[in-house]
Amino acid sequence: MTDRERVYGGLSNAAWGYFFLHIHFKLNTVDILPVFVGYLLLLSAIGKLSGERRDLALLRPLGMLLAGVNGVDWPLSWAGADLDGTFLPLDLLVIAAGLYFHFQFLTDMAALAEQYQPQGGSLDRRLRRRRTVYIVLYTVTFVCRYLPFGRFQDQQILIMMALVAAMLVVMLFIMAGLFELRRCFRNQEENQAKA
């Protein structure tokens, strides 16, 4: 595998990884697009792209933690069980790890976009902006779960639904950005070959 193929494969895994993280199809209680597969794809992307971005290697232990927790959660979900909410310290570790992981990963993807996008392109800026919005929404959504809303619990549910919906929309844009990054890389490669 050449370096170019490796990078292309890494960018593909990154884009599909986010697809698995956020798009779910369930057959009864079984998710056929499990989250842990998404993290395994992102770990694979980290392995392939860490030569391009040194900081990505720092994410490997966090990625393994997130893949591990979601890997345990998946068979549990067959029986209708859910790790989320059963042990708060683990929830907090996973949330903190997830926040850092996605922020750093998307920061590195934006840096790669800066490298591969056509001159004057704005993909890097768009990816950074979407990353920032996503991380803030992620944080606010989590915090909303723990703030005592008292008699305004109906409003709390509405706010959280709105936040989750907004996160999903932002994530769709991020996925589109990552596929665009892969396309930029391929186009750059073709242009170099022509030249």
Partner: protein, 648 residues
């Protein structure tokens, strides 16, 4: 903290948070900067400062529950609840039990350690006073070059290294005879600029308060070292190239130096092991990913909010064990709303679960409930309720319960009549077609400390109702109480009777609905409240004068608080001579013909409320316009009759 149990609760709560934060710090050791590493301790500081278990909340684990269990196992006492008023020891009582003496030993330990720290600080200041005040050109040069503040400098014999001492009158102490490297001075001046000595005192204070907790001593050590690492980072941010390497070499040379740090000081040299960790952090200085400020803030926020706000126990654990375990765990679940307390009490009656009763019972009844649990076991509390609370027979639990005339009193407590359906007629009574047997008990929900409890105001009384459980409306003939309002004008007393029915949210046949919601608000716990009111006019004049009255009409509307008197409909106008609206208004007129009775029914109305205020559906007063012979005779204000309470 006023007893050993409150100290235990506080220190366990803080320990849980500390272990989590230590784990997070290890996880992000090579990913987030020393600035973040030190700032994360501020989350622990907040947990240390917040009284554990405030508002019935716990952090990470249900520590209050386990402390209550431990306390009951150790003392056999059920009638107290551990509370932390302030997060420092306050031995307010004369020791009587072994637990009191243990607390006194702990409090003495705090004082001894505090005194030791203060004495060592005073001795250090005395040593520094004997030092020679100098005008160090190097200190002046470093301060000018980096724009840092300075303070008096003293040279003292025998000092291993330079350090800053003091908060209000800080002194930079230098070893006599050998002026340290400029980078060490820079390090100390940065401590001075950022008042890091204050942090040192705060850490020392909490070290004293939790002197017997090794986890917090470990945290104190880490926090002190993180403070030095942060200062190293500030130094490195001001140095370039070779100077940075020199700084690392200087730290390395300090690794074997003596370490005798006193509180109220800050020094670049803080022991070999700590210096080794700091050198590792320096080696990572350029490798921390850049632009991580937002991620750092977000990670801190998601950790801080659950650790500071905490969560509330939602109900008693499902497991059932001995009295000490089960009833102590139940006592620790604090009902935080009147609706929650009423719900726990009523569901305890319905299911016979004594732990539900314990959730809502005053502390002075906990021993009695625990004894009943020990005698009757988990699910046979209904026998005890039949024996002790006058419950006529087993309730029909799947039908839920209702509360009539739920009223919020001026002191914030709520009163009402709890009504439950019975599974069969009480002993010695017969079952009639179309009738249901119900049992009613007057109850009062009141706040005791930070928990809401239910205090029964009498025993259960059985009643037979022909409306059926689904349509219990309690006609006037039924002996179900109503709130009565009256006003007099001339020969007439105008009387309004007011009843509300608060219905539990219950899916038919769902056993999960019978698990209490201790923090439930009205709209969650109860499905709705219906009100029914009836209006009467009572003639009190001379029977011979009855003939002067040909027609009587009354229009009324509830009138709450300080609002202006509501506008009332004129019963003489419109198509209908009587009616009611969803606002609570009602109007009615009656022709008085022949030998009419003294008591004249004027109909009434009814509606279903939304949930605007907890238990406050009963109006303060009622505005009523009285019309006699089609003339407005009086604008009346119907007030609750004497006592203002509920009347048979």
């Amino acid at each position: 903290m006023t007893d050993i149990w409150s100290f235990l609760l506080q220190t366990l709560t803080v320990s849980g948070a500390a272990v989590l934060l230590l784990t997070v710090k290890v996880m992000f050791r090579d990913k987030l900067s020393p600035r973040w590493q030190f700032c994360l301790w501020s989350v622990l500081a907040l947990v240390l400062l917040a009284p554990a278990g405030w508002g019935g909340r716990h952090i990470l684990f249900n520590w209050p529950q386990w402390v209550e269990i431990l306390k009951t196992l150790a003392t056999g006492e059920y009638g107290t609840l551990t509370e932390v008023l302030v997060p420092i020891p306050l031995p307010l009582t004369i020791p009587r039990t072994w637990a009191d003496w243990l607390f006194l030993v702990y409090a003495a330990g705090v004082v001894v350690l505090l005194v030791r720290y203060v004495v060592s600080y005073v001795r250090l200041r005395l040593v520094l006073r004997q030092g020679e005040p100098i005008r160090s050109q190097q200190v002046k040069a470093v301060a000018e070059r980096y724009g840092l503040p300075t303070c008096p400098v003293v040279a003292v014999d025998g000092l291993p290294t330079a350090f800053i001492c003091g908060v209000f009158r800080p002194v930079l102490a230098l070893p006599a005879g050998r002026e340290p490297d400029g980078k060490v001075i820079l390090h100390e001046l940065l401590h001075l600029r950022h008042n890091d000595v204050v942090w040192g005192w705060i850490i020392a204070f909490f070290r004293c308060v939790h002197w017997c907790n090794p986890i917090l001593w470990l945290c104190a050590d880490w926090a002190g070292n993180d403070l030095e690492s942060l200062c190293d980072q500030r130094v490195l941010e001001r140095l370039e190239g070779e100077e940075r390497r020199d700084y690392g070499r200087i730290l390395l040379s300090m690794a074997d130096e003596r370490y005798a740090r006193a509180p109220g000081t800050s020094s670049a040299s803080n022991g070999g092991e700590n210096v080794r960790r700091r050198i590792e952090a320096i080696a990572r200085f350029k490798r921390y990913p850049a632009g991580m400020a937002l991620a750092s803030v977000c990670v801190t926020v998601v950790l801080a909010v659950p650790l500071v706000v905490g969560v509330r126990a939602e109900s008693v654990p499902e497991w059932r064990g001995t009295s000490a375990f089960t009833m102590s765990a139940a006592r620790a679940v604090r009902c935080s709303t009147p609706a929650g307390a009423i719900d726990a009490y009523a569901k305890g009656i319905l299911t016979g679960e004594l732990p539900y009763m314990a959730m809502s019972a005053p502390l002075d009844r906990q021993n009695e409930l625990a004894a009943a649990y020990g005698h009757h076991g988990s699910r046979r509390g209904i026998d005890w309720m039949i024996e002790q609370a006058g419950l006529p027979c087993r309730p029909s639990s799947w039908e839920g319960y209702r509360v009539f005339n739920l009223e919020k009193l001026p002191d914030g407590s709520c009163e009402g009549l709890l009504v439950i359906p019975l599974s069969r007629p009480p002993e010695g009574r017969t079952e009639e077609d179309g009738a249901v047997w119900i049992a009613a008990q007057p109850i009062r929900a009141e706040r005791q400390g930070d928990r809401w409890v239910v205090v029964p105001q009498g025993n259960f009384q059985p009643y037979q109702d022909y409306g059926g459980w689904a349509f219990v409306t309690f006609p006037r003939e039924a002996p179900i109480p109503a709130k009565v309002y009256e006003a007099r004008h001339g020969d007439f007393i105008i009387r309004a009777e007011y009843r509300t029915t608060t219905t539990l949210c219950l899916e038919s046949g769902s056993s999960t609905d019978l698990v209490p919601i201790p923090h439930g608000i009205y709209g969650q716990t109860f499905g709705q409240t219906s009100e029914v009111h009836s209006l009467y006019a009572v003639y009190t004049g001379d029977p011979a004068d009855k003939g002067t009255y040909k027609k009587i009409a009354v229009s009324s509307r509830p009138w709450d608080g300080d609002r202006a008197r509501p506008q009332l409909r004129d019963p003489r106008s419109g198509t209908y001579s009587s009616g009611s609206s969803s606002s609570g208004s009602s109007w009615s007129s009656t022709r008085l013909t022949g030998d009419w009775a003294d008591e004249i029914s004027l109909d009434g109305g009814g509606t279903t409320f939304g949930w605007e205020r907890d238990g406050d559906q009963i109006p303060d007063r009622i505005a009523a316009d009285l019309y006699l012979n089609d003339e407005l005779a009086a604008e009346l204000t119907l007030l609750p009759v004497e006592g203002g309470g509920v009347h048979d």
